[in-house]
């Protein structure tokens, strides 16, 4: 698992924020079309993401066969017209399992990040706004969690609390929330001294209102870029932990768990290990490309070149 650098260069978030404000004024649909027209990679990214998000919601319903029930007479069949991606060692259709597994591999990642985001925003906003001792303490706690290597922490949690997806979720939330806390705090710090915030306060708006209506909306841009990249990493982390046997347990068709089961049969059944791996790769590619595209789009400096 890797991560983009977290060095805070003072200028970048500000630039992104300005661009985002401009973008927002034009309305979301216009924004989307401009974004898509920037580069064919952006189109590819949106396409992939929409496909997999679609599977998260409708995968189970649209799967041609039962993704969970074994039918061992058909074990390890090669891809055919009945089983487009072939079958596994228990005769289950791999296409159906890949489709049904999207909600575990990708859906779980989205849940993890949503919660991490909320926690991070709350902590970061409070720290940034109140400043002083509260800020100091909260930031130290944040740095503590940031300091911990993710996979090891997740393994330790799974080892002590038990191997299932719930504990993976807990572990990964603990890993991801600090990034957002830091990001939001930095944003809040730089925005809160600005004129329009002072103006709002002078008019008599309470801190909550100031936060919600004036400060936080201006922090969205870097957060969104961060989110798109993190979804990819969260998917890989969940799959990695499940591959090790610490996350999703059989018969859940999580893509990492499937790859673990496919290992034994690689020689006879190339399809078993290939398709879940492709699904994982394409999902993460989609989110990475989206993150790249967003960064390029919102950062006018790169556009100049």
């Amino acid at each position: 698992m890797t991560a983009e650098p977290r060095v805070q260069r003072d200028q970048r978030p500000l630039v992104l924020e300005v661009a985002a404000r401009q973008a927002r004024r034009r309305g979301p649909l216009a924004w989307l079309l401009t974004f898509l027209s920037q580069s064919p990679l952006n189109v590819l990214a949106m396409g992939l993401i929409l496909l997999f998000l679609f599977l998260v919601i409708f995968g189970d319903a649209l799967a041609p066969h039962d993704p969970v029930k074994p039918d061992i007479a058909f074990k390890l069949h090669a891809p055919s017209t009945t089983y487009w991606f072939g079958t596994d060692e228990l005769g289950r259709d791999i296409l159906s399992r890949v489709m049904s597994g999207a909600k575990y591999s990708l859906g779980i990642a989205c849940i993890i990040l949503s919660i991490a985001l909320i926690i991070g925003v709350v902590v970061g906003a409070i720290a940034g706004y109140l400043g002083g001792l509260v800020d100091e303490i909260l930031m130290r706690v944040t740095d503590l969690f940031l300091a911990f290597p993710a996979l090891i922490l997740a393994m330790a949690i799974a080892a002590t609390l038990g191997r299932n997806l719930q504990n993976v979720v807990i572990a990964l939330i603990a890993v991801y929330w600090p990034w957002y806390a830091r990001l939001v705090r930095g944003q809040v710090l730089s925005i809160k001294e600005r004129e329009f915030v002072e103006a709002a306060r002078a008019v008599g708006a309470g801190p909550g209102r100031v936060m919600l209506r004036h400060i936080l909306p201006n922090t969205t841009a870097p957060v969104i870029v961060q989110l798109t990249i993190d979804v990819g990493y969260a998917v890989l982390a969940t799959a990695g932990l499940s591959f090790l046997g610490l996350g999703a347990q059989p018969p859940i068709p999580e893509w990492g768990t499937m790859i673990a089961g496919a290992r034994t049969f690689f020689r006879e059944a190339w399809w078993y290990i290939t398709f879940p791996g492709l699904a994982l790769t394409l999902t993460v590619v989609g989110f990475n490309l989206l993150g790249d595209g967003l960064r390029d789009y919102l950062d006018p400096r790169s556009r100049r070149q």
């Binding site: 969970v68 029930k69 074994p70 061992i72 007479a73 074990k75 390890l76 060692e89 228990l90 046997g245 347990q249 059989p250 018969p251 089961g261 290992r263 034994t264 049969f265 690689f266 020689r267 006879e268």
Partner: protein
Amino acid sequence: MRERQPEQYLSLLLQARSGRLTRRQVLSRALRVGLSSPAILSLLAACAQQEGGGAPTPTTAPAAGATPAPSGPRLSENRDFVILFSGGVPDLDPQSAYDNQASALFLACYEMLIRLKGESTFDYEPMLAREWSHNDALTEFTFKLAPNAKFHDGTPCDAEAVKASFVRFRRMERGPYNVISRFVDNPEDQIEVVDPTTFVFKTPKPEPLFLAAIASEYGPLVVSPAAMEQHKTAEDPYAHEWFAQNIVGTGPYKAVETLQQERFVFERFPDYHSEAPFFDRIIARVVVEDATRRQLMESGEAHGCAYFNAEDLIALKQNPALQVIDYETTQVNWIRMNYHKLNTKARQGFAYAWPYQEVLDKVLLGYGKMINGPIPDTVIGYDPSIPTYTTDLQKAKQLLTEAGVKDGDSFTFMYAAGSADTAAMAQLFQSNLAQIGITLELQQVDRSALIELNYGDAPPEERPHFTASGWWPDYNDSWNQLYPNFHSDSVGSKGSNSSFYQNPEVDRLMDQLQVATSEDEIRELTGKIVQIMTWDDPAAIFWGQITRATVLARDIRGFIPNGIYIASYNFHQMWREAV
């Protein structure tokens, strides 16, 4: 070594001609010196004809399984033999471990007094003992040791040492101790040392099975009492913890490296009392992944493995670089059911939910057949009239409901990693139960962790509901198959009864079986026990009698599978042909 060869050859030639050395001794010394094959062959030709006895040597007769070479097979230069295990080996104490991977290692570095000859389950050949005899009444068994037997720590292995080792075996009361306790309750008195190389076992009543038991690879192996004295503590008077990590025996190989989760390396023990085997080194590597074991065998990096799933075996049979040796065994596999956590009706219900045919036909692909209880069909006491279970989910549901099991209830099924077949059948069972509203939580754990749990003293409340397991008798006897697994005295570290099955009627019948005097009595008692344990008060889900297979590199010769020494290697007879 090269430079001195002519002199050594000459000296061996003279000794061979004069008949001072047996063919075996000539061969072993010639191998040790590193003479070339033609030289060795000419030396052997010079030997006066000697009576053989003991291990067949490469040039006298090709061992079973090898095709006779036209003019005497050539010996390979490669003297390493690498075998593969499917999981870690947590306990290396031969008088405590009941683990077939451990016993495969023990045959290299520890010794019983006698061992089974070839494929036979009732013919013996010497191991630590050179000669043995018994009186007509079968109450006194005399053994004569090799005069120069030494332990790996240099201390002599004399009759006193062997007696001390058997006392430890009996008194420590761990694992396979029933192998000795059935016959010898009081080893201090019942073992009599006659002279430094002779001792006698005295039994109060006739024991026709005694020799068979003494040849078992589980338990009656001789450990160094000096090492025990050196490492014992107040809490551990038999130094079990130390022996669990260290090996000090009399075998032809001594342990050089024992990393329980990784590998075991054995090298030739120079002071071995008998003729040296072919291989210089035996290396056992722990490889948990099925696919990797297969890759290593196919690439030639590993030379032997007894742990493959059925799909792999079928594929490996097509590989010209490997030989796959199937052999019928007395191994029965079952799913233990936790006696304390599941009541009788529940256990009956679960027995109806197991996917018997699917497992045997589709998962094991014929490497197993249906069985009606814990007794394999080649052991005296097997009763073909007792019916087998079939998969009947309606009946299962009905019984489970009567047992008080509700929809949505969850149960745990624990099995060892390293076997794709077991993983598949666990999921099939899970799916069957899901169809009748029961949740089965699968716990795949490392093999050594499962062994530790099974043979440890954790109470039954802390154990899972189901454990995948299997067994074969230490010697061809139904009591021996049943006692360590299902008698209430065998719970915890005292045996293999890890599901805490405790049925007083079965105990009573088993105690009678232990002292049964006629074959009819054995059959009758065994039949009654099996009826109770399979139907009336199920102890486990008995789902198959297994055919095993060992895969070897093409150039390995001399391997003889034995239905009792399952998954083991007869290292002392195996060799590698130069191709």
